[in-house]
Structures are given as structure tokens and as C-alpha cells.
């Protein structure tokens, strides 16, 4: 039986990504697209930077050929606690939830795109077109996730549909959420288990433990955005 404070205290969701383990395979990118009904814009519009990827793999080449090393970094919405995207929205379509998520309300969004312009991580995506899925992708649409329409902004939700399911399960068992209750699509698909997700307010959780690691860093920390995504530096850089 969990006590009352545990019940009322909202979990604080966070992610940790071990860069030592990431091989840049992009399984997370594919899993995210399928899980979250991300529309396909085609190669031409993609070249105009109109494609939408809630998570992407950034590549960094180091050294001169033939002694080249590639470093990978999965970049998704950092769910900043001081999110630059939030105060610039004129219609409150983006706001901060009690669980520390940066949320986007599609039905409020009027498409000013201020938020995307103010995001230092470029992880907000605008729907330039009516959503389309070339066959047979339309058969894989997830009924638990909204279909966004033309003219609205969209972004990573930390798989809110899976968070709700995990919280529901914990409530059924009358306990606080714990590691393994919520596994976002990207985390679940990672073949090298480079990604971790959990409640950072719970000091015993895996993310909280990794956040205390001496390899822990946050992306563009100096901006003061206080991201909820923690990267673990490669060991040779530590």
C-alpha cells in the first residue's frame, strides 16, 4: 500500500541516453514514427526541411580519412524545465505539465511557429501539409495517438499514451510508478539498450541514478533550459 504523499506526488519523467551504447542504427527513429503517427512528406519536401522526425540521430565525424570516427547522438525534445518554446506561444498551445513534460495541444495551435523558432534543439515540427501515409503505412496508424492536421506544430511527447497506460497500471496495483512501467517507443526499440526512461523524482530509479553519474551532461546546458534528457558522455571523453 503506498502512502498518501506518494499517491499525490506526480512522477517527474526523464530520459537518459548512454552515448557509449548508441550505434546510430535509427531503430528509435522508425519506432517513433510508427508509434506516433508521424506523417510522411516525401523526398522533395523533405529536402526543403519539412519532414518531421520527433527523434533524429545526429552524426559527428571526427578525424581525417581514413582515420575517421563517427559519433552519434539521438536528439529528441529535451522537455526543458525552462522551455524557450513555452512563453512565446500566443495561444498557450504549448505548456508545461505537472509531470515535467513539455506538452503541445494540437487543437489550440494556430501555427505561428514561434515555438519552433525559439527551440534551440530544433525538435519541433510544423505540419506543412495534410497528413499522408503512402500505402501500406496507413494501416499502421496508432489509434491511441491523435492525427495532426495541416497548420499545427507537433513534437515528442515522451509517448504520453504509454505514460498514461503505465500510470494506470501502477494505480491498479495501488503503488507508485516504477522502472519498467513506462517504456516509450524509442526506448523499447533500442537494440543496445542505450536509452532509459523513468521517474527522476524517485532517487532509486535508473534515470535518477544515471543523472548522478560523472558522465552525465545535458545538451546545451549553458542556455539554462534545464533539459529532462540526460546524455552520458562516451567514456573516452569523460
Amino acid at each position: 500500500m503506498m502512502n498518501e504523499t506518494e499517491k499525490t506526488q506526480k512522477p517527474q519523467w526523464a530520459m537518459a541516453i548512454d552515448l557509449d551504447r548508441c550505434t546510430g542504427c535509427e531503430a528509435c527513429v522508425v519506432a517513433c514514427r510508427i508509434e506516433n503517427n508521424i506523417a510522411v512528406v516525401g523526398p522533395e519536401e523533405s529536402a526543403r526541411d519539412r519532414s518531421m522526425n520527433w527523434i533524429r540521430i545526429e552524426r559527428y565525424m571526427e578525424g581525417e580519412f581514413p582515420d575517421v570516427r563517427v559519433r552519434f547522438r539521438p536528439v529528441l525534445c529535451q522537455h526543458c524545465q525552462e522551455a524557450p518554446c513555452e512563453p512565446v506561444c500566443p495561444v498557450y498551445a504549448t505548456y508545461h505539465t505537472e509531470e515535467g513534460l513539455n506538452a503541445q495541444v494540437y487543437n489550440r495551435c494556430v501555427g505561428t511557429r514561434y515555438c519552433a523558432n525559439n527551440c534551440p534543439y530544433s525538435v519541433r515540427f510544423f505540419n506543412f501539409f495534410d497528413p499522408q501515409w503512402p500505402a501500406p503505412l496507413e494501416k499502421s496508424l496508432n489509434p491511441e495517438v491523435s492525427i495532426r492536421t495541416r497548420g499545427v506544430m507537433e513534437k515528442c511527447t515522451f509517448c504520453i499514451q504509454r505514460i498514461r497506460k503505465g500510470e494506470e497500471k501502477a494505480r491498479d496495483e495501488d503503488r507508485a510508478v516504477r522502472d519498467g512501467d513506462v517504456i516509450p517507443a524509442c526506448v523499447g526499440s533500442c537494440p543496445t539498450k542505450a536509452m532509459y526512461f523513468g521517474n527522476i523524482a524517485d532517487s532509486n530509479s535508473e534515470v535518477a541514478r544515471l543523472a548522478r553519474s560523472n558522465r552525465a551532461e545535458r545538451l546545451m546546458e549553458d542556455l539554462g533550459t534545464e533539459p529532462r534528457v540526460i546524455y552520458l558522455r562516451k567514456r573516452d571523453q569523460a
Binding site: E98, L101, V105, N107, S146, T157, Q161, R164, E168
Partner: protein, 172 residues
């Protein structure tokens, strides 16, 4: 004489069509016409009826997002023998024989464009009476939309009951 017959037949046709239209208008205000005229009152409230609970038929309301409509096989558990001669039960039996489900017309739903992901389960857990959202279905012979599920209406109850009014509670 021929003229008179023509006038009478025209009048007759006009009366028929207007009567039919009136009937249709009244029947739609009474909720959508269902493939089988299922009567909730008879099953739930009628003194000499079976006096079923909502959850007897809508059995997944407490366990899942959807309350669910029972399959005809559930209906046939009783109706194999009870009232088997009534025309509506015969319709039901015909569906059961074909192993088909009647194409029930939905009464309560939210538009997909509303991006609402409603879940019955937490509402049942919070002991919200079915009547609060569905009206007096137990008294209805044909179910109609009695309660307007607007967002303000949802939020009003959520704030009274101290439930989450976070957008992400219902929208995703």
C-alpha cells in the same frame, strides 16, 4: 370521376409522405433507430423484468477504455428461451445464426478531431454513476444523447472532483 380519383390519390400520397416525415422527425429526436429495437427500460427498470445492472452487459467499463456492447451470443444466453417469439428477438436470433453482430448505431462519441482519448475505467474507479454522463438510460426505451459532453462540462466535473485538468489527461 377520373379527376376526383387523381385528386384523392394525390392527397392520399401527400398525407402518407408528410406523416412518414413527421414520424421520422419524431423518431430521430428520440435517438437513432437501432437495428434491433433494444429497450433499456425493459431490461433494467421494469418491475417484472430481469433488472440487470449496467455492467452485466457493458462489462468492460470497469476494466478498459471502452464500456463495450455485448455480442449477440450474450443476448442469446437468455433469449434462446425467453421471449423467443417476439419479432425483435427473432431479429437478434437471425444475427446470432449468421454469427454476425447487429450494426448498432453509436449514441455517445467524441469527434476524432477533438483528439479526446476517453477512458471509462478511471471514471468507474472514481465511482461516477453511469447516469452522470449517459442520462437516464435505464428509463429509456430508445437511447438518445441526453448529456452534451462539451469540454467545459468535463472540466467542471473534473475540478469539482479534484481530478486532473491537465490537457494531457484527455488529449494527446
Amino acid at each position: 370521376m377520373r379527376k376526383l380519383t387523381a385528386v384523392i390519390s394525390i392527397l392520399f400520397a401527400a398525407t402518407l409522405t408528410s406523416g412518414f416525415m413527421l414520424f421520422e422527425a419524431f423518431s430521430t429526436s428520440d435517438g437513432p433507430r437501432q437495428p434491433v429495437e433494444f429497450d433499456h427500460w425493459q431490461h433494467v427498470s421494469k418491475e417484472e423484468g430481469p433488472q440487470l445492472e449496467c455492467s452485466t452487459c457493458h462489462q468492460y467499463a470497469s476494466a478498459s477504455p471502452n464500456a463495450t456492447i455485448p455480442s449477440v451470443s450474450t443476448c442469446m444466453v437468455c433469449h434462446e428461451s425467453i421471449n423467443a417469439d417476439s419479432p425483435e428477438v427473432k431479429k437478434l436470433a437471425a444475427f446470432a445464426e449468421r454469427e454476425a453482430e447487429p450494426p448498432w448505431v453509436r449514441v455517445y462519441w467524441s469527434e476524432p478531431s477533438a483528439n479526446v482519448f476517453f477512458n471509462h475505467k478511471p471514471h468507474i474507479r472514481a465511482e461516477i454513476d453511469c447516469v452522470a454522463c449517459h442520462g437516464q438510460v435505464s428509463q429509456a426505451r430508445r437511447v438518445k444523447r441526453e448529456v452534451n459532453h462539451s469540454m467545459g462540462w468535463c472540466i467542471d466535473c473534473h475540478s469539482r472532483k479534484n481530478a486532473s485538468i491537465d490537457c494531457y489527461a484527455c488529449h494527446r
